[in-house]
Symmetry: D2
Subunit: 328 residues, 4 copies
């Protein structure tokens, strides 16, 4: 058997097969994702531009770091508004908050559903932040799209292909979280579903994978996806250190590492009173800790050429090692 790998269009498999009767088969091996591939855009990173009340926000390799923050679930009006105000004041651009929550147990809090969407709309109006929230069920898609600026597909639904196919013409970008044990290729194939359905705006979010050791971290954050994805796809990248580690005290150093590795955006879980959170309390930063962290995030992003205020840092060539150097 002979496998043709790489740019093999000019090769004639039959010609190769004729060399010897010992050759049973000649096969072309190609990447299974096409629209998601870097080649599809001739090596150019794509930009996902989101219109928020506060203005356009662009996710992309040549743009400032974007930060998304908020609670695991929208619990009530006070908590979401209080959180949104601090998220806004800290300089983040998006508020995340779950209305529909995928929970292992049917007896656990499942999210407040539509009423939570209403509270997110309220928070959006109050702060001008863009809204990112998860859809789990095609039946809720219209309601979610009506409120969300970016629609999230959670890790457990990364291969819910029926749902992915329905995201083609929603007119909103999709944040696609990596499945708990999804290979990079499967993840990109799921992005391909959305792209093939007609929606060009997909952001890939790493949130930790499942490994043999879950004693000290909930999942294992795989930061090497950043340079790997850069070599495979044009799509923007987000890192979620909160779900990856499952512990708020591990979030700051992993956020810093993610920026250093070249992420385009961060998703961070915050809650006014983590100890009383209805879900994911242990991984949520308090509001003051988040504010503290954002000061560092800004400084670090600026250092790595991904700072918010133009002009970008000049000390280092812009995002040199994390992207061009690393990949070329």
């Amino acid at each position: 058997m002979i496998g043709l790998v790489g740019d093999t269009e000019s090769l004639n498999p039959e010609l190769i097969q004729q060399i010897s009767p010992a050759i049973e088969q000649v096969l072309r091996v190609k990447k299974p994702f096409k629209r998601a591939s870097l080649e599809f855009r001739y090596g150019e990173p794509s930009e996902v531009v989101v219109s928020t009340p506060n203005g356009l926000v662009t996710f992309g390799q040549n743009h400032p770091l974007v930060t998304v923050a908020g609670p695991c679930s929208v619990e009530n009006e006070d908590m979401i508004l209080e959180t949104a105000q601090i998220v806004k004041a800290s300089g983040a651009q998006f508020l995340r908050g779950g209305a529909y929550k995928p929970r292992s147990s049917p007896y656990a809090f499942q999210g407040h559903g539509e009423s939570a969407l209403g509270l997110l709309a309220l928070a959006r109006e109050a702060t001008g932040l863009g809204i990112i929230t998860e859809v789990m069920d095609a039946a809720d898609l219209a309601a979610v799209v009506a409120v969300a600026d970016v629609v999230q597909i959670g890790a457990r639904n990364m291969q819910n292909f029926s749902l992915l196919k329905k995201l083609g013409n929603i007119g909103k970008p999709v944040l696609l979280k990596r499945g708990l044990s999804a290979t990079i290729e499967e993840w990109l194939m799921s992005a391909e579903y959305i792209l093939a359905a007609g929606n060009p705006d997909v952001i890939l979010c790493e949130r930790g994978v499942r490994t043999f050791d879950a004693k000290y971290t909930r999942n294992t954050l795989d930061l090497s996806v950043i340079p790997v994805l850069r070599s495979l796809t044009h799509l923007p990248i987000m890192i979620d250190p909160s779900h990856a580690t499952g512990k708020s005290e591990l979030v700051p150093s992993m956020a810093a590492a993610a920026i250093a590795a070249g992420t385009d955006s961060l998703m961070i879980e915050v809650h006014p009173t983590p100890a009383k959170a209805l879900s994911d309390g242990p991984q949520s930063l308090t509001l003051p800790d988040f504010q503290h962290l954002m000061l560092e995030v800004d400084t670090i992003a600026k250092f790595f050429g991904r700072g918010k205020p133009c002009p970008y840092a000049t000390a280092l060539p812009k995002v040199s090692y994390a992207t061009n150097f690393a990949i070329v």
Copy 2:
């Protein structure tokens, strides 16, 4: 911190806490699944009884082995009828066949959908076999339920909680495949979703988990789930060696091992011409190989006290080691 594990109802946590001021907290630790737990039925295994044209078929620990066989996907009338005839002739009770296929790639064959359901109905009528087919989308549920005797939830949808919640009153048993990297507890919690929604008939199907080595098998078949599930749940168990190994030549020995370990049922992939199958060819047995295997399966099942024709084998005490002995 003190954790109370086991039957701790008679213990008063406050009393324990008063022993010393050094004790910060006393917590009860319980199994998170209730309706799925063995205790819920006071240690009695449950039976899932399915009405097929050929008569009632019972899945359960105290019943003969049930076999499900068929192609990955329903490709056309000829192939599904030919397959169904052989499946029936070989002594299996159910025909499996995909109408809706979860495929990693949007460009891969996605199943023939509703027309395939029609062909399954045809095969059911022609052979009297029960039908097991997968539903991926709530929108297709009514159509699937109209044809299927058992509705399958695939590995990728094991934590599609929106879908699970809709299975409560469909009036058909559910075959719940284990997710690719789902823990046993998560799997039982997903069963709990279905039970809590009102459907008491759930069969658990192991189909291999994802590990570090996928060179010689597609997944790693975890047969130890059989005795583990026996100690945790009353629900019947199915083993799918075809998806687990991904290679037809590994199926026979794993089917034998599954019976020896005490499985209640088997799911085996067969295809008239595996080399031309639209999906999962390498793991499909040819029809003659399946017939050959079924002769062995019958002999082995009989030896282990799970043979079809009553009275059961008497040489060994019925399912002794695999269940009672192993667990008590």
Copy 3:
């Protein structure tokens, strides 16, 4: 790039490369193990014949099932003799018992070392059983070889290449346990180290691999290695359900499954009083439970054509599905 896979000796890579300037490289891809490969013996399984006081015992695909049993560690004379008597009486051929124990903690019991070897020699003399014990350190090799009929290399030392190289001319067979996360190929390469060093007698022992779920089993027993190894290597196979599951109540059904899948031998942990064992108590069967299990093991082995007393069972063609049928 072009990879040549399979029997490619007659192909000239340069000739292929000349077809087009677009071909950068032409590579032969071969199995990395040679002496361990099935081809090395032209498809014939090898036999490992061990001389014990009770006579020759042969490990191999065309031979009766061999059983090895004993405690995790040799604790004192009484317990090892008592255990050995029951192991012998139950029909097993080998006594296992640790003199040198690899323990995660430096503070845990490390085995009684040389004095334990003396007790194993005593038990050998008293019962005629062959002895299998582990060597961890080249410095102890001579002492271990002096007592052991089969020298065990534990999972943690599977890639201790320095040690493997020293096993070439010890004149005793080697039992090579699979590493906790060793691929099948790495395992066979470690066997190749021993074979290449000059020792033709290697038995491969699966003892469970590390996966994401260790709540209900210590490791995940990978029984599919049996048919996979049959297709790759001529070496005999042993299955250790005790270490794999870590729970004595799971051992019987996994032992039965292993026989059904075609294993050549079993290793089972037993202890006179598991609750008081210095190591691995939870996975040790009591002596009566072991005797009970051996009755079933014998019956099952006989059924599958691997029973001790000749003539073999005639109901089924000898080891049909588990080996020839499964692999060819």
Copy 4:
């Protein structure tokens, strides 16, 4: 069953057991590592001070970043001297280079052994760099210790307890690589072996763990160990992005991320001509690429308060988020 977790010395388990006959057992649960624990040093990080010809180098949380670089194996005098000169010129403090190589295959290059040690001594003399090289066999320990300034225990020998016990009085620090699928706790327990044997100088090196996806990276770099280890142990930390990723183009961004996450040192593989390397070529940086990377490493380390020239950067409080903030 009742488990006592935390500081439970003042609790009397028997007293608790007497509360009710329903309590079968009361157990104390403690961290299994003691000398390696952060508590052992009352929360103070330890320092590993190494004397090199160029002066003392200190590994530790409150010290500048230390860099170790060199080829996988010492191939000949020219290549090791050329590499050492560039490593020195780039500002690294240690030269790594394998004399004894653990290789999966017995037919692969196993290192030049003692003659390679001689070449390392030569390189040490020529450049003043400290030497780090691996020992695989206790028989080679004296020879390795005679040349090495830090003795490396490789991932495959992390649980070679016989070898670990012999490192107590060698008078040289030990670099302990994490096993391929070692939990953090097992890793610390292996460090405990060395500490308990009498050697207080242990550096922990993360080099990637084995997961389900090895298509685009050789292993999965687990950077979250940095803040986790900070909360558990006083020992210094090293990150090896070369072995973790297996691809030189992924090294720069992972090195940056490691510094951002708070590592104390880096190990990076370099080779004059990676394409011709006898081992691990694909993960080795060329000498010019390494020089380029070191410029960035220095800038980044300085930014994070871990720069070589005192005084440290003042823009940010010293190692604030990565350690104190993250952990307290």
